[in-house]
Symmetry: C2
Amino acid sequence: MTTATLARNGGQATLTVSELAHRTGVAPSAIRFYEKHRLVVSERTAGNQRRFYEAEECIVKIIRVAQRVGLSIAEIRELMADLPERRRITVDDWCVLRRALESEVRARLQALHAALDDLTSDQRLCEIPPTTTHRARH
Amino acid sequence: MTTATLARNGGQATLTVSELAHRTGVAPSAIRFYEKHRLVVSERTAGNQRRFYEAEECIVKIIRVAQRVGLSIAEIRELMADLPERRRITVDDWCVLRRALESEVRARLQALHAALDDLTSDQRLCEIPPTTTHRARH
DNA sequence: GTAGGAGTTAAACAAATGTTGAAGTCAAGG
DNA sequence: CCTTGACTTCAACATTTGTTTAACTCCTAC
């Protein structure tokens, strides 16, 4: 019934902000920014330092992909709203996110192609008016 | 040898900023912004008012599509740098732009899919570690 | 115990893409 | 002539997505 999680450190939050930054190629300031906006989650040490779960590496990478798709921070937060607790995330959860992103890409791509079609099919815009000739007059 | 242009007003610039705004669904302030950044071009009346060529309607629509593709103002300016004078624009020119945009979309889409593939194939990230089980334990 | 390196917060700054507002100009109608 | 509506410019403001900086804390090593 249970689904295995992806923990590698006994499920403890062990990554520092700079470790996570290095793994993801994202600046620490950006990671703190994402945390402030509740895209990223961390525990705190006794000395008030952040410690991230391993899963956060994938979270951050997904954030960057989602941004390239065109999602805002708020939309990415929505996208991830249904994730379970960090220690309980499984491969299935990543796959769900991936499918959601792919579906978003497809939708945007379709809208984009429709817009491009409009551009070149709109009579008043880009078609040759009836009386003029295109590539005429050898 | 020559290619017919798309002029409808004797090739004169006749559109006011609010007419162009209405035709394109873009705010006048945005159109002035685009002009300041040399994406959009206009003539001036004796009284210093802008007058746009018909072609500008398509230009503005292309700008909006290009933004959705993810191009910045500077990149869009580059994209349009090779256009001829406004009065000499032909259907061919729109088609060239369209193909350039489509090609850009394809490139970005491919990079995006590669990134998504990375996400779910990266061993350290999203694969189940060898010792744990996925959806096991009936 | 003290010096260094890494972390912390809050606030200021930055770049991109516009929007809004104030103050002025112009042309048309009454 | 005078009002009205659409235009002009310029500057200030707004939003998003971060980065930079200053002042402070914490842990480790000497």
